[in-house]
Subunit: 195 residues, 2 copies
């Protein structure tokens, strides 16, 4: 038997551990026992910080959502033609996904089995709808090609952005590397690969 670690966790550092376990085992497959083992502190020490695993999920998801929704308030997302705002939001969403990778990964994998998960899905849908509205406006302003359905374009755009979680490795992720990936997404989606 190993000695339990002295509990020096802050809410943030405990969240880091929990999110890693959630992403490895799935949220449903994670017990307080798993969290206790991964953190190296007793279950009652964890209960000292949070009411349970659902609170950890809620905090983690809230962190991802706060970063994502903050993009929509950035000046470049508010001012100018819709197509330029949309391109900014696309680039920044990719950047946030990489900078907050474990949190956004968790958000993207949520199923909807608990209240927290259903709230996460609803908020995520809200974000998607705000981006879809930008696409619609850009199309109405004549800046988007008319031969691709707006709903379909929204799905493919998020499909491309969200696929980054499948291969992006944050340990190699300098800010410059993140910006290169986000630029590539924006260029491909809006200008296309063909010269």
């Amino acid at each position: 038997m190993t000695m339990p670690k002295r509990d020096t966790y802050t809410p943030d550092s405990l969240l880091t551990v929990a999110v890693q376990v959630f992403n490895e085992r799935g949220y449903d497959g994670t017990s307080m026992e798993h969290l206790s083992k991964a953190a190296g502190i007793s279950k009652s020490s964890i209960y000292h910080h949070v009411r349970g695993k659902e609170e950890l999920l809620r905090r983690a998801i809230a962190r991802a959502l706060d970063h994502l929704f903050a993009i929509l308030d950035e000046p470049e997302a508010v001012n100018g033609r819709a197509v330029d705002r949309l391109e900014h939001v696309t680039r920044r969403t990719a950047e946030v996904l990489m900078a907050e990778l474990p949190y956004v990964t968790l958000l993207l994998r949520v199923h909807g089995n608990t209240d927290t998960e259903r709230w996460a899905l609803a908020r995520r849908r809200e974000f998607d709808q705000q981006v879809a509205a930008l696409l619609k406006q850009a199309a109405a302003e004549g800046d988007l090609r008319a031969d691709v359905d707006v709903r379909l374009a929204t799905r493919l755009l998020f499909g491309m952005i969200n696929s980054i979680v499948e291969w992006y490795r944050p340990e190699r992720g300098t800010l410059a590397a993140r910006e290169e990936v986000a630029e590539a997404v924006a260029k491909m989606a809006f200008a296309g690969l063909r010269v």
Copy 2:
């Protein structure tokens, strides 16, 4: 207790059932018991058709791979400038993904825990590499933008195509609907959304 169904399965119809169960429960989480229940025939009846669940996985994956690799032999994938061949392969890969949705979904979710899964991953990598080689050639011919890394572009291209499995519903999937989605992917990736 319900009466077991008379075993009227063909290899193909049994595969259809197995693939559905694999996609619902995950391959690792599927037992012969689950397959027997879903098919409505006894385990020994299933063993009459196949040696075990790994053979069903291999057949299902082989079906997806055969369809995907066949694309690379189509005249439009062989003749002409690399960029046009690449655009054809992109469109057709999206179409095959939708037409063979359960089989390709299974292929995309394989982990690499068994010999069959490792073989599937290796073949999938081979397909990706052949597409990456086309991208490289198109870049060398000056038809692709030079400011997006070829490896990154390959990943984003597959990311966009593969994301279709997340939302595409085959029951609404007429040939025309599939062609519209595939066209949208090709247009977005090669010409971009911006007018």
